[in-house]
Structure formats: C-alpha cells, structure tokens
C-alpha cells in the first residue's frame, strides 16, 4: 500500500502508465498479435527522443524562457556531417561520431554565445541560430546520399533478445544523467538556477558557466542523436530532425519536469518517449489519417500541460 502511494507521488509514473495503457489498447485491437515486436520497435525509436529529450530537459530546467529550438536543424546538420566524415567506411565510425558530437556542441556553444552577447531570450537566439544552421545544412547536404558504413548501420539496429542495444546504452546514459542532476555540482547548480537565478548567483553558483555548459550539452546530444538517426535509418537528410522540436519538448513536459524550471525528472523522459511512440503506433494501427494523428498529438500535449501546469514558483 505504501509502495503504491509513494509510486503515485512520483510524477514520472503517469507517463509509464500512459504508455502501458496505449500498448494494451493496441494489442487488444490486434488481438494480442505483435505485442512484443511493438515494444522492440518502440524502444528503438524512443531512444532518439530520449537522447534529445534529456538535453532539452536540462535546458528547460534552467527556468522560464529557456528552451532549445535549434535541435531539429542541429540534428539535420550533424547527421550530414557524420555521414560525410564516415564516408561509408567502417574505420571512420568513431571519427564520424566525434565529428557529429563536436558539430552539435559547437552549435550549442554558439546558441549560448548569442544569448549572452546579445542579451536576447533563448527562444529567439536558438531560433535565429536554427535558421542559419538549416541553410548550412541545405547547402552542405545537397545531393548528399551517402549511406552509413555497414558496421554503423548494423550497430544502430543491433538487438539482443529483442532488446535494442542502443536502448540499453541509452538507459545507462539516462542513469548517469539522473546522477549528474542530483549528486553533482553541475546538476545542483542547474536546479538552483531554474528555481531562482538571482538567488543562485547570490549563493555562489557560477550562473554563466552552468548555462553555457547546459546549452552546449543539449547541442552535443542533438549532434550524437543526428549521427545515430542517420545510422538507424541508413542515410542522412535535411528533414531527419524535424519531428524532434515538438517531441523533445513534449517528453520533458509529459515526463513531469516543471516548465517553470528547477524541477527535472529523468525517468519521466523515458516514459513519455515510449508513450508518444506507442501512441503513434496505435493511431497507425487504427488506421487514422495523418491529420487526426497530428490533431491528437497536439491535443494531448495541451491537455497534459493544462493538468500539470499551474505551478509557478511560490512568490
């Protein structure tokens, strides 16, 4: 009984419950057929949302107004960079991954530079940056049809007993992120800034450095995500990151992280990512049109934020 109570108090539990419900609804529709395969597919796809979602979570936790809108453009460019550097050869996989990471981190650093130097809200800074990145990507990736090295594509699609290896690695990564959030100076500082940036500065937190690190981290995760996506889908393209603008923000919000800042939730990102992926699978299984799918996705996000919202810092 106490277990149930303490679980119910955890905000992330709802996203997992939602994912479970959607899964049950789908397999009851198919008569139990394909339930396992669905989980495998959901895990493989959720990985990409979780990686950028964690980056976005740290950014959003910095407090109101902080959000990284450059992630889609970032993912697109990094995927092209990774494929070009790898050049289809297995020996260059690590170099290509590093290049994507560096590309993403550089974008994140530029984002913060704009925020800091022009003293503009992160929304407009990451937005203007994404305009430019998008053009670079279009121009750089034109006609680029380089396939990932076979080894990399195999790695990105590798499964052990129906569990994608990438998902296992991502779980390890999220555990590390959760520890960093609660037990490292960096994470504590992010939480402090998100609750009250002025109080954080007055308590000796190096606000500038932490914000810089956070935007760079988000950028770097976007970069890695781009490379992995290109590997998984066996090729890069300009639009590969488009859906991750909304998805990255949605998993943060649905996962129980406070949009007012200062309260983050790592497990919730996983639950919410699975929920979103399974929801799409369900709608596809039911055979609804693209319009209904978009409509429902939007309504669910507005609904979740309406239920979860209303808690700004007590003042």
């Amino acid at each position: 009984m106490t277990l149930v109570k303490s679980l119910a108090a955890k905000p992330w539990i709802w996203s997992f419950l939602g994912a479970l419900l959607v899964w049950l609804a789908t397999i009851s529709f198919t008569g139990g057929y394909g339930g396992g395969g669905m989980v495998t597919a959901a895990l493989s796809l959720a990985v990409f949302t979780v990686i950028v979602g964690v980056g976005q979570m740290f950014v959003i936790t910095l407090g109101p107004g902080n959000v990284d809108l450059s992630l889609p453009a970032n993912i697109g460019l990094a995927s092209a960079v990774a494929m070009k550097v790898m050049g289809g050869s297995d020996s260059m996989i690590v170099v290509g991954l590093l290049a994507a990471l560096a590309c993403g981190a550089a974008i994140g650093a530029v984002n913060y530079l704009l925020i800091w130097a022009l003293r503009i809200p992160p929304i407009i800074a990451t937005l203007s940056a994404s305009f430019i990145i998008q053009s670079i990507d279009i121009s750089y990736g034109r006609g680029l049809q380089i396939k990932p090295p076979p080894g990399f594509a195999d790695f990105a699609n590798w499964q052990i007993l129906g569990i994608p290896v990438l998902a296992i690695l991502t779980v390890l990564f999220t555990i590390a992120a959760a520890i960093a959030l609660q037990r490292m100076i960096y994470g504590r500082s992010v939480l402090a800034i998100g609750q009250n940036i002025r109080a954080a500065w007055l308590a000796g937190v190096n606000v500038g450095r932490i914000r810089f690190l956070t935007y760079t981290l988000s950028g770097a995760l976007g970069g890695i995500d781009g490379a992995l996506l290109a590997g998984y889908f066996r090729g890069a393209n300009v639009d590969i990151g488009n859906e991750y603008l909304l998805a990255s923000i949605a998993v943060v919000v649905i996962g129980g992280t406070s949009v007012a800042g200062g309260k983050a939730n790592v497990p919730g990102v996983w639950g919410a990512a699975l929920f979103l992926v399974l929801l799409l699978t369900m709608l596809n299984t039911f055979g609804v049109s693209a319009g209904v799918r978009l409509l429902l996705t939007g309504l669910i996000i507005v609904g979740v934020i309406t239920v979860a919202g209303g808690e700004k810092a007590i003042r």
């Binding site: 504590r188 500082s189 402090a192 609750q195 009250n196 002025r198 109080a199 810092a313």
Partner: protein, 489 residues
Amino acid sequence: MLKANTDIIRLNGAEKHFGAVRALNGVDFHVVTGECVGLVGHNGAGKSTLMHMVAGTLRPDGGEIAVRGNAEIDYSVARALKLGIRCVFQELSLCPNLSIAENTRINHPALTGLGWRRKAASLIAAKLDEIFPDHGISADDIAGDLSIGRRQMVEVARAFTVTRDPLDLVILDEPTSSLDAHTAGQLLAFVRRFVAAGGSCILISHVLGEVLQNADRIVVMRDGKVVATDAAKAFDRDRLVATMGGAEAREKIAAEIAAARPADSPVRVRARPARQEDGKELVARAGEIIGLAGLAGHGQTDLLLAIFAAATRRKPGIEVTAPVALVAGDRQSDGIFAQWSISENIGIRSLAQLRKGLLISPQREAALAEFWKQKIGIRTPDMTNNIFSLSGGNQQKALFARALGSDAQIVLMDDPMRGVDIGTKLEVYDLVREEAAKGRTFLWYTTETEELDNCDHVHVFKNGRIVANLTRDELTEEKIIQSSFGDAA
C-alpha cells in the same frame, strides 16, 4: 465608540497568515474623516499587510471590514476605489512602458472616449503642479525613463487625481523614501492641506519626525498587533521608539559588546560606491563588523552586490581579498530555493566542500545541516523537510547557516532581519559577533538603527554615496538621520 458614523474605514480583528508566518494577529484599526493617521512599527510589524487590506489588495483570513459604517462582505480593490479609498504602494506601481498620462489613465476607468489623452495629461500635470510646483516632469515622459524620485512624485500625484470616483482616504506607504528633503517637505505640506480640507490620510514612515509632525493620531504596530493608539501630541520620539520595541535588544547589545578589537588586522574589503565623487571609501578589516545605514534604497544594496560580484570578477574601485557569501534580506526573491529541503538550501553555497570524489556526499550534506541546526537553533523536526515548512525567522536562520557554513571569510548582509521576530534577531546578533571575533568580516546593511549598535563602523548612504563614516562612539540615531537627509555634496 460613538463616532462610528464619521469612520471612513474600520477593521475589527483582522487576521492574516502567510504559510507558517502570522503577519496580522487580530488587529483593530480605523480612520475617521479629516484625520491623518500615522502608522509606525519596525519592518515586519504588519503595517504593509494591514494597508493592503484597507486598500482591498489582500483579503483578511479573519475579521471584519466596514466602510462608513457599512460592513463590506466582498471587499476588493475595485470596491475600495469606488468608495474613495486609494493606496500609494511602497513598491512602485507605474507601468514603465507607458507615459505619465497613460499611467494616469490606468487608475481612472472614467478616462475614455475622444480626447482622453489630453484630459489625462492635464489632470496629472495640474496635480503635479499643485503638489510639487517645480517638478520638471512632462505628461509625455515615459515612466521607465524617470528617476526613482520622480516616479514616486508621479505616483503620489496620481493618487490624488479625481475623475468619477470620490477621494476620501489616501494611504501613503513610505511616500518620501525616494524624495529629497525639499520635495518631501512639499508632499507633507500638501498632505496637511488635504487633511485640513476634510480628506483623510494614513501615513507610514520610518522617519519618526515626519509622523510626529504631520499625523493627528499615531498607531504603533509590533509583531502583527496594534500595541498603542494615541493622539500624536501624546507621543514624543522616545515614547514612540520604546513602544515600537527593540529597546531591550539595544540594552542587551550594549552590555555585551567587547570594545577591544585589533586595529591592524588585514584589510579584507576596500570599496568605493560607483557614484562616489569624493575620496570616501569603505574599508573592512578581518574581524570587523561594518554597518551600512541611511534610508532604504540609497545605494547600500548596490554596493554590497558590487562587492559580491567583485569577488569573482575584477571590478574597478573594489578590492576583495577573501571568499564572499551573502545573506539576502528579500528571502523570496534573493535567497530561498522553494523546491528544496532545508539542508539543500544550506548546502548550496558549500557544494565543493561537500563532495566525495565527483559526487556530492549525502552524509556530509546532512552533517553540515545538522551542525547548523544545533548551532543556530533552526526549529524543525527534520532538516530534509521543505524550506517553506519553516517560519520566516527560521528560514532566515537557514540563510545565515548557508553563509556561515561556507568557506566565506567576508559575509555581506542585505538587511537580513526584515520581518524577523525579536528572539531570532538576538540569537543571530550573538552569532555574528562570535563569528567576527573568530576573524570573519561582516558588512551589514540594515534599516533598523538599533542593529547598528553591533557595528564597529557605520557608513551612512545617501543617493548612492557614502556621506558619513561614524565610529561606534559617535553613533546616535540623530546623527544617522541628519546625515541621511543632509545635502550630499
């Protein structure tokens, strides 16, 4: 009371709680037609809360409100305005993006239709001319461009403009805090004319002389209660100060202060305010407690923040030679992390010391919190409870623990005793002196004069500059007030 029919407003048994803090504890208060009521008390005594109730911006948790003898069940700002009751709030209420005329429009729903801009402009200009004849403000000026003093002038003048609603009672909450002596005099003279003409006024001021000279009746508040009400003539400064309380604290401090202090200890801070034009500067040595005095908002906090910033990044005119910590006065906006436990709130300044390897050690964090719980007497069953489970005084103690538990050798205090009960104050004074004796340096900005008795030196501020440097022996309340109002060269 038989005079009930001449009451403008009457509150009976008004109560208000903010979380664990009891801001008002059964207050009876009234104002009659044609009188100026002076309201005095220390910070946190409940004056502002009471005035918010009169103005309709706060709903009492208990008690009754009656206007002109009629009980008001659903009292609100809109209702108060309709009944002719207005308030000039301590925090400025102008919209910085609007012009003075447009700001006037906001307070007058009746200013509509063609030509409203012209009407609003002439309305406010006429009132400014009447109260502050040489104001130098144009109705087209954008509020955000004006100096804080001029903004206060506009706000006061705006409260006295009349269109559709009547004007019977104006609450002036520290109306002279940003005005110079000349404009303050103009304002007070206007208030007397207004009252003589049958208007009513509530005057809140830290400058006791203003209240003694201008009020007909004085109400003294302390710890959320009214402790005295009497004709102004029946009070003098000493009786007022004694009634407000804190005198016992004063005697205790005086008895305990150890005069001896090494004069040749190393200099920890040397700072000159940005607006200082003469050579005066603030010098603080190891083991010293330096007071920053003067009227609120005259550059004391700015200097503390500049010193704080200079500790991490070099700044011209400021020299800091040791780690710095700051104890915030405005707990909610500058100090508390609302979602965290008490121990997390204490540990945030000392994260580097709490580490074991790369990770913060929960044991060390708990040990630090437990140590300060005992030492400073934070009253809670469990330091892992949320910070808001504490009363205001204990929250402030947690902020002291944050600073004193850190490696900081210099502690900046930004009027930290606002709204703190007397018991907590005395405990903290002892602690500050004890830590100073161990070699820590304290820079202490306070709006409460008796706290300055703890200091070795007191710098009085006016308009962002240091205008006087008093040693403890020279320190008297008169001297501080004199310097605060004197002409800054």
